[in-house]
Symmetry: C2
Subunit: 65 residues, 2 copies
DNA sequence: TGCTGAAGTAAAGTTTGCTTTACATTATGC
DNA sequence: GCATAATGTAAAGCAAACTTTACTTCAGCA
């Protein structure tokens, strides 16, 4: 599932480390989600939406598999 | 994470079995998510939003932990 | 009565999300 | 040159999502 976290994070001038801290996860988790290694859990997706100030549907591409 | 899947499913007159088939998961998964045993993955949450014709934020309560 | 559909619980097992640790690369600045 | 910050990869291990199977309960109906 593709996402625009990297772009949104950079717009907010947040490092991966800073975003990880805001989300309460490790830096590896941020890297892995940004690079598409895996999808975040639903609670984490909601936190991302709150931290990045964007609706979930705007952060993730709902394209089908 | 609380959700309104059961109510939305019943409004659409879908059985758990029918919803599971539409989502491409097992009936157990539908039961477990409806009853709050665990949260769906993000891809599954998107499928739920599509099948139930409601935005993710309307299906799940984003209350903080 | 007994059958069938819908909803529910439980347990074992696989897959995926997440953590922790360690190491590599690139850029900035002393 | 050396240190530090930011990004990235990889691997081992734990936790949560999901599957499969099996069993239970309740309602409706012939």
């Amino acid at each position: 599932m593709k996402n625009h976290i990297k772009a949104l994070r950079q717009q907010r001038e947040l490092t991966q480390q800073a975003l990880a801290k805001l989300l309460g996860v490790s830096r590896q988790t941020v890297i892995s989600i940004e690079s598409g290694r895996f999808d975040p859990s639903l609670p984490l997706a909601f936190k991302l939406a709150r931290v990045l100030d964007a609706p979930i549907e705007a952060i993730f591409d709902a394209e089908e598999g």
